[in-house]
């Protein structure tokens, strides 16, 4: 399936972070590339939602909803700065 982009997980990110995050700027922990969360490649049925670096395909974000909780893994980033 074609990748979407970070706009597709904007709502989930609001729930997890409490504010708009697609304009947050992140640095990929593998290639050092910098991009807005909106500009990542997003897969909605991974299972869970996965955002990958457009430059090197590194997994940046994994979000899984379990029994009403959203679990967010951001360890693919070396830095993440909200706008």
């Amino acid at each position: 399936m074609d990748a979407l982009d970070g706009n597709a997980i904007a709502g989930q990110l609001v729930v997890a972070f409490g504010h708009e995050m697609t304009t947050a700027s992140g640095v990929c922990g593998r290639c050092g590339g910098q991009a807005l969360l909106a500009e990542t490649n997003v897969y909605l049925r991974a299972p869970g939602s996965v955002a990958r670096c457009r430059a090197c395909d590194n997994v940046l974000v994994v979000m899984v909803e379990v029994r009403g909780y959203t679990v967010v893994d951001l360890t693919g980033f070396s830095a993440l700065e909200p706008a």
Binding site: D2, D5, N7, A8, A10, G11, E20, A38, E39
Partner: protein
Amino acid sequence: MVELVEQTRQTKSIVLDPPDWTGHRAGQHVDVRLTADDGYQAQRSYSIASAPEDQHLELTVERLDDGEVSPYLVDELRPGDQLELRGPIGGYFVWERSLGGPLLLIGGGSGIVPLRAMLRHHLATASDVPVRMLYSARSLDDVIYREELMQAGAEHGIDVRFTLTRKQPAGWDGYARRIDRDLIGEVSWPAGERPLVYVCGPTPFVETAAEALVGLGHEPGRVRTERFGPT
């Protein structure tokens, strides 16, 4: 839900009057959640089609035959029904008058929906930035907001161009091919004029347009994209 308006054979606009709505910015979307009697939930994102200045919130939904959510919204929803919404959502694919222009809007299929909100915002605020729109659809019957967009061209000086990729009516004088670098080069301002570009459509459409724009020398930071696909 206030009203359902048929736009094309496959798309309807859902006019909503949500309580406690705090307003939105043109280009944002909402998440719609449906809950079945057995508790099963499905959620999808839909772009807001109305301008912030419009009286009601409008979503325009394309019916996907094998979809879980869109057939219900398009076929089953009735005025007075309640919908569970989350939003407005998004801060990236947003245009406001203060961002200026020139403004180039490139839409494929139902990717026109958030661009229509931007166009209406432009008209409602009497913004004076030059606006151009390129809209790719399969046929004239698939063009959403056809009359409104043609009127924007005829009465408001917006440069609206259509490309019909599968079927063209007799005497069609618009474009009749898929977007590519040549077509975008023809429609866009030169990169030196630094237009602000919004591209929305299915992923392959958006990738083609974005690569073409960057290839033509446009700054990646001034090309904002939103991809959608069946989910």
